[in-house]
């Protein structure tokens, strides 16, 4: 119980979307103060995704208000003060802040240790997004439409039609051939000027049983059967322990499609270990509660699934998730090496998680799969002094793959 209260308190509060036309004029000039530099916007986007996106959208309300035009609504100094320590602003009695605090269920926006420049860069990103709002929506929609249509036509409809057409043609040809053959036979039987040999051929009947009992046929069938069985066994043996596509049912029907897809929450926000630890970490309920202290109803299942988080906290009973990605004990894998040092995208191995309602194992996770990637991947040596010596040894970072610096050695993963 106390945990819940504390989590509630630490959840996030946001700037309002209320239109303050009164202050609009005087603040309008501020928009110019927000930088429009592409680099700054990119930096701002990164910060926004990591720190703000869990509670804020550009347009719609989430836990906190949408942030479109916020730089027009409020004074930049005010925004900076509020982001750094919202409670201080509220406690100072600022009417705007107090109203907003009340409107958003008194959810506290946790203080963030940003510099003024960082906050400006976030604003730059917000401004960039605000400016793009109408167009952006249209382009995305179109892209999705055409893309989907093309995919549909090429891979399912078109190919199926061709195949069906071919099959029908072939069946028709067989029917026609059989018909021709029987007409010819009938015609020949009526003829009387044939010699003995030709008559025998015409009188001959097709003997299926004899064919089936022939040595050659049995031999061929046996061979084919053995070959198929052998191939199947070998294939199956290779798949022992391979769980590609494994999508177990989880104790809570958590949807990555909603969280990572629809709300675009950064993977790193919940999987906190991914940059520093071997484990990416499954988030503990206190991370869930950052948002779910105020979002009590979900898109797909209403309160049913979300209430399981509350139950777990109330009953002080940890949630037993089912591991989707399992490596054998003798294989060592470290997320931070790949994500932090190597700058590998999560999706490279985990696939389009943002489209998965239930998470499934996207990749093979076999040693061959690891090794293939290590053979072809260039080492990310940029700005990393650790690799200087190796870059020198290879004459150029272009020639330096993971394999060439020992990435295929046994004891890199097995110890």
């Amino acid at each position: 119980m106390p945990l819940k209260i504390r989590l509630k308190c630490s959840a996030v509060l946001l700037v309002s979307v209320l239109f303050f036309s009164g202050s609009f004029h005087k603040l309008n000039a501020q928009a110019e103060a927000v930088p429009a530099d592409a680099d700054v916007i990119a930096a701002g986007e990164k910060l926004f995704r990591q720190n703000c996106a869990a509670c804020h959208r550009i347009q719609e309300k989430l836990i906190g208000p949408g942030l479109a035009n916020v730089y027009d609504r409020r004074d930049i100094a005010w925004i900076q003060a509020f982001v750094k320590n919202s409670q201080k602003v509220i406690q100072s009695g600022d009417p705007y802040a107090v109203d907003m605090f009340e409107e958003y269920n008194q959810i506290v926006m946790p203080p963030v240790d940003f510099s003024d420049e960082e906050i400006l860069s976030i604003l730059a990103y917000i401004k960039d997004q605000t400016d793009k709002l109408p167009q952006a929506a249209v382009t995305i929609e179109e892209a999705v439409d055409t893309g989907a249509a093309a995919e549909q036509g090429l891979f399912t409809g078109y190919m199926n039609y061709i195949l069906a057409g071919l099959i029908i043609t072939l069946i028709l040809m067989i029917v026609v051939l059989v018909m021709i053959s029987s007409v010819m036979q009938k015609f020949l039987r009526t003829r009387s000027d044939l010699d003995e040999a030709d008559r025998e051929i015409i009188a001959q009947r097709f003997n299926l049983l004899a064919l089936l009992q022939s040595r050659a046929f049995i031999g061929i069938v046996a061979f084919v059967f053995t070959a198929i069985a052998f191939k199947t066994v070998i294939d199956q043996l290779y798949e022992i322990g391979v769980q590609q596509g494994y999508a177990p049912e989880q104790p809570i029907a958590f949807s990555h499609k909603v969280h990572a897809g629809q709300y675009e929450i950064d993977c790193n926000y919940c999987h906190t270990g991914v940059m520093k630890s071997k484990n990416a970490n499954i988030p503990s309920p206190n991370i869930c509660m950052n948002c779910h202290s105020s979002i009590t109803e979900g898109v797909n299942t209403g309160t049913k699934e979300i209430s399981k988080i509350y139950a777990a906290i109330e009953e002080n009973r940890p949630i037993e998730w089912v591991r989707v990605h399992n490596l054998p004990d003798f294989a060592y894998f470290n997320h931070s090496q790949h994500v932090n040092v190597g700058k590998v995208e999560c999706a490279t191995c985990h696939g389009p998680v943002e489209e998965m309602e239930v998470v499934r194992q996207y990749s093979l996770l076999t040693m061959g799969w690891c090794v293939d990637c290590h053979r072809t991947t260039k080492v990310n040596t940029k700005d990393n002094a650790y690799y200087d010596k190796l870059v020198e040894f290879h004459n150029s970072p272009e020639l330096m793959t993971v394999e060439s610096i020992g990435g295929l050695e046994c004891a890199k993963c097995h110890y």
């Binding site: 022992i240 270990g273 988030p283 206190n286 906290i313 089912v322 591991r323 610096i405 004891a411 110890y415």
Partner: protein, 1037 residues
């Protein structure tokens, strides 16, 4: 080829070419078949059955992979991240033993202990017992809650009953005693004071199983201070030890090993080293490291010490004292050296007799060592036990004078010589309580057990030396329903609150005054983070006034030290088992004894000449058992014939024969505690008269690892020189093999230059390990550290007898004859008092590794960083690699040691609790695969990753192997030989040169050698020659 200067051997059986030894000498494995099969081989039917089962199992496995759960924290602490270790500074306290430590925890479980380098007392060193203590935490034999008469009881009821009875004792003015081993914790002492305030009839009685009461009494009489001084071995150029095992078990061995070795590290810049004399009966670890060792009988101890006193006195012009002899071997030489190194010398004695200690004080005083190598300014608190008080207490209990007894974490029923008496007498006391963590011998003799936490679950503080404080902090939530003993005392005294707050408040009042600048919280946090707080301004009082009456002491000595010319028994503590407190720890039970290399037993050690006279024979690993009778108590004991044992003496280790420690320790060895004698009312660890020994026809094999891996006659595995030789020629003792090919001049090539292999390129790192044979004392802390770090299994006594021990790092102990090579008859006799060399041996990570070339499945391969890698999941168990390894460092998993009831003593792998100690970064190996030292590749990878994340190159601080970081002597140095800034590169003086298109390395350090250089394996592990500070001519005398 240079002739080897010495003959080395590992055991008598090797020297005498015992058939058992010869049979096994050049075999890697003792038998051809892995398991003795009672049925005599498997039939075709068995094979088919197995096949069928195998296919079924495989198809089952294919159908459904087991569902594995991932359970995150409910509320993840900010500072704990799964997969990332957390380190907490803490303190190891066990009786009077102390070590400042750093505990590595993973996901909230302590899994490894490292030394705390910030401590000025232990200076980052550890011991085998400290390293192993993390496994004791997960011992299932610990009590899961309080007990009354062996039955479970709630804490509330326990407190209620105990308090009621204590109050009723108080109301009649009854006597209460708290019994404890040396109490280093000042806060706990204050809690005892609080308890006394509530119950005025309380007295605290302190005793130690390994008592130094005699020294305390002597110091009280001589200096007016009932304390042990600080010994600065690092400042002593001549060290004379009279049976003090200061590197193994005496007072503070980790600290002394650190200090002692500062005088033993020599290189071209500093080519001086201390000289160490040892006079003792048993061959101790310290004696094994001495430059000159002289075996003496315990009954001669008095003569030795008086003899030395008189030799020094006559040089100093002081009056001599009566008695003593000076004709003990090396005694005069020792006296001369002491005198010429006046002020920079040190004489220590392990005796518990105040008279002997008084004379030793007199010697040190004449040498001017007080204020130089011995200091009372920061005196030690290690051994405060008072034997007389303890004897008085036992008498009082017997006399019915004591109403209540509370034992604080001590086990006198087992480890006090009058334990049996005490156990009987306790029945007469109205209330008896102990805080033992298990139902041990004492807990079984008392009414109430209020189990204390393990030290890794506890808050505590310690003051090992005056002004040097340290803190313990919990590194895991209590595993059982135990309670911090201090809180029990607080509860019984009616004080509210918990010990943490009490401790913090105690520190606020007593320790916190000097650093007011940042406030108390800062001071506390800093002390807790560092694990230590060392007050700077201990008043530098000049050394205390001396009042040494050596003459009176000599008179008592003359009375007491008389033998009956029969055999004399010397009782001693082993480095691993100590007083037996941690006897239920299988890592310690299976740690080969530092000298005998025996495991899972104690035994009588006897000199060769005595064995010959008595007709004790040793054949095929079996030795006659003996019936030893003392005071009418007879025991049948195994025997080990021990070179270096003083003639006429027997040795027997204490700490064994536990009956109620748990399934690992119970019934292992024999309990010799009742044979501890009394001298001047103090415990006396020798029996000098009335020892009867009868040889039986029964033969017994003590499991010893000493000859399991032999060097097969290649004596150059060890290279040594004397100091004088070294000073003349820094590469003295080195063996430089040279070979000849048809195209080169005679003997112009080193073996490494002619090779079939192309060599390896090491573009990034080149890991290497350097081992200074001169520093290694053989203490075996590395063996246990490696076992903890690398999930090495315990195999048990039977399997050690079968030569299947699994340790990745072993310490080879070699005897070498002190006879000269010309003295052929001398060489034929295994020396009665041989020189000893210790050599740690692990995988040598050869550049041209013989194991790699013979593996049919490429399961062992070479890395681009110089490591010889072992891939368990690829290994099919042909064991070719082990057969081809000239160093014999590969270990085969003959059995599945985990989850196997037959190996239930392997606690770390056979129950849920024990498994918590496993290092999650290291695979637990299964049956049928080979394993060996990996040079802690998991630590290398972690260190590299840390550097990569921080975008920098690695340094020495990032990576250290478990063995090197555990070593109290800094004998092992690990590092990157490609990095010119690393310690190892500097110490080996590595130079690079180009040739044949690749970069070659040479080591310019003259003492450096690789093992079996002539074989051409080119290891990445390098040794430095052993240097003895010995005058060679005398060694032939």
């Amino acid at each position: 080829m240079n002739k080897i200067k010495k003959r080395y051997w590992k055991g008598i059986e090797e020297f005498t070419n015992d058939p058992e030894f010869v049979k096994h000498a050049d075999k890697e494995f003792p038998e051809y078949l892995p398991v003795g099969n009672d049925e005599g081989g498997s039939s075709r039917r068995d094979f088919l059955k197995l096949m069928g089962f195998g296919v079924a199992a495989a198809s089952l496995a294919a159908c459904e992979a087991p569902v594995r759960k991932a359970i995150p924290y409910l509320n993840k602490p900010d500072t704990v991240d799964p997969g990332i270790p957390n380190y907490y500074a803490s303190t190891y306290l066990q009786g009077g033993d102390y070590c400042s430590i750093v505990v590595k925890t993973r996901e909230g479980r302590p899994i490894k202990i490292e030394g705390n380098k910030l401590s000025k007392v232990t200076m980052g060193g550890t011991s085998a017992e400290v390293q192993a203590s993390v496994l004791t935490l997960y011992d299932k034999e610990r009590l899961d809650g309080p007990r009354k008469e062996g039955n479970a009881i709630s804490w509330d009821d326990l407190d209620k009953e105990i308090t009621e009875q204590l109050v009723s004792v108080l109301s009649v003015g009854g006597q209460i005693r708290i019994i404890t081993n040396t109490m280093l914790s000042p806060a706990t002492l204050r809690i005892f004071e609080d308890f006394k305030e509530k119950y005025p009839g309380t007295n605290v009685v302190t005793y130690d199983p390994a008592s130094s009461a005699g020294m305390l009494q002597a110091n009280e009489a001589n200096f007016g201070m009932r304390v042990l001084p600080s010994y600065d071995f690092s400042n002593a150029m001549t060290i004379v030890s009279l049976s003090a095992d200061f590197l193994g078990t005496w007072i503070s061995p980790t600290e002394f090993t650190k200090l002692y070795n500062k005088t033993r590290k020599i290189n071209s810049k500093n080519n001086k080293m201390s000289r160490h004399y040892q006079f003792e009966s048993n061959l101790s670890l310290t004696g094994a490291n001495a430059d000159y060792r002289s075996p003496v009988k315990p009954s001669d101890e008095g003569d030795v010490v008086i003899g030395l006193y008189n030799l020094i006195a006559s040089k100093a012009g002081e009056s001599t004292i009566s008695g003593g002899k000076s004709d003990f071997r090396y005694l005069k030489k020792a006296a001369n050296d002491l005198w010429s190194n006046k002020v920079k010398s040190l004489v220590v004695s392990g005796s518990n007799d105040p008279a002997v200690q008084t004379i030793v004080n007199g010697i040190n005083s004449m040498l001017g060592n007080y204020g130089s190598t011995i200091s009372f300014n920061r005196h030690a608190n290690f051994r405060q036990g008072d034997d007389r008080a303890m004897n008085g207490f036992i008498d009082d209990v017997k006399g019915g004078k004591i109403d209540a007894v509370i034992f604080y974490n001590c086990n006198p029923v087992y480890n006090h010589p009058r334990g049996a008496e005490l156990s009987e007498a306790l029945k007469g006391a109205r209330i008896t309580v102990t805080t033992s963590d298990r139902m041990d011998e004492t807990a079984s003799s008392v009414t109430y057990v209020a189990p204390d936490h393990h030290f890794l679950e506890s808050w505590n503080d310690a003051e090992p030396k005056k002004g040097y404080f340290s803190l313990s902090q919990p590194t895991i939530s209590p595993l059982f329903n135990s309670r911090q003993a201090q809180e029990s005392f607080m509860a019984w005294a009616g004080n509210e609150g918990n010990y943490f707050n009490y401790l913090k408040e105690f520190w606020r009042i007593n320790m916190y005054k000097e650093s007011a600048a940042f406030g108390f919280q800062y001071f506390w946090d800093k002390s807790l983070q560092d694990g230590i707080y060392e007050s700077e301004n201990v008043e530098e009082n000049s050394e205390p006034p001396q009042n040494i009456d050596a003459q009176a002491a000599a008179a008592t000595v003359a009375q007491n030290y008389k033998g009956d010319n029969g055999l004399e028994l010397v009782l001693y503590y082993k480095v691993a088992i100590g007083d037996g407190t941690q006897a239920n720890n299988p890592w310690l039970q299976e740690m080969p004894d530092t000298i005998t290399k025996a495991v899972w037993d104690n035994y009588v050690t006897i000199s060769q000449s005595d064995a010959r006279e008595l007709g004790i024979t040793s054949e095929l690993g079996f030795t006659n058992m003996v019936n030893l009778t003392i005071d009418g108590r007879t025991a049948k004991l195994p025997v080990i014939i021990q070179p270096g044992q003083a003639k006429g003496t027997l040795g027997l280790a204490l700490g064994y024969g536990r009956t109620k420690a748990g399934k690992v320790a119970d019934g292992v060895g024999f309990d010799a505690t009742p044979w501890i004698k009394s001298l001047n009312d103090n415990a006396y660890y020798a029996v000098t008269s009335g020892v009867q020994l009868e040889v039986t026809g029964e033969m017994y094999q003590v499991a010893q690892t000493q000859t399991h891996e032999t060097f097969m006659g290649r004596d150059n595995v060890l290279q040594e020189a004397t100091l004088k030789e070294y000073q003349k020629n820094p590469s003295a003792g080195r063996w430089h093999p040279r070979i000849t090919t048809w195209m080169n001049e005679e003997k112009s090539l080193t073996p490494g230059e002619v090779t079939l292999w192309k060599g390896h390129k090491y573009p990034d790192h080149h890991w290497g390990l350097m081992i200074d044979l001169n520093s290694c004392t053989g203490c075996s802390a590395c063996t246990i550290a490696c076992q903890a770090e690398n999930n090495v299994p315990v195999v048990g006594r039977e399997e050690v007898v079968n030569r299947r021990e699994m340790h990745w790092i072993r310490i080879d102990r070699y005897y070498s004859s002190d006879a000269s090579l010309d003295n052929l008859s001398g060489l034929e006799v295994a020396s009665e008092n041989p020189e000893i060399t210790f050599q740690p041996l692990m995988c040598q990570h050869c550049n041209n590794a013989p194991c790699e070339t013979v593996c049919p499945v490429a399961a062992t391969t070479h890395s681009s960083e110089g490591l010889n890698m072992m891939t368990y999941n690829r290994c099919i168990g042909t064991r070719y690699c082990a057969n081809n390894c000239p160093y014999k460092v590969r270990r085969f998993n003959w059995f599945k040691y985990h989850d196997n009831k037959q190996f239930d003593k392997n606690l770390s792998m056979n129950n849920d609790l024990g498994k918590m100690v496993l290092n999650p970064d290291v695979t637990v190996r299964s049956r049928g695969v080979m394993e060996k030292c990996t040079l802690c590749v998991q630590r290398i990878q972690a260190g590299k990753l840390a550097a990569k994340i921080e975008h920098r190159t690695t340094t020495d601080d990032d990576i250290d192997t478990a063995c090197a970081s555990a070593c109290p002597a800094d004998a092992l140095v690990f590092g990157d030989m490609n990095n010119p800034e690393s310690n190892i590169s500097k110490m080996l003086k590595i130079k690079e040169y180009e040739g044949d298109g690749t970069i070659h390395k040479t080591m310019e350090e003259e003492r450096a050698f690789t093992m079996l250089e002539d074989v051409g394996t080119r290891p990445n592990v390098t040794y430095l020659t052993k240097i003895r500070n010995k005058d060679r001519e005398e060694s032939n005398a």
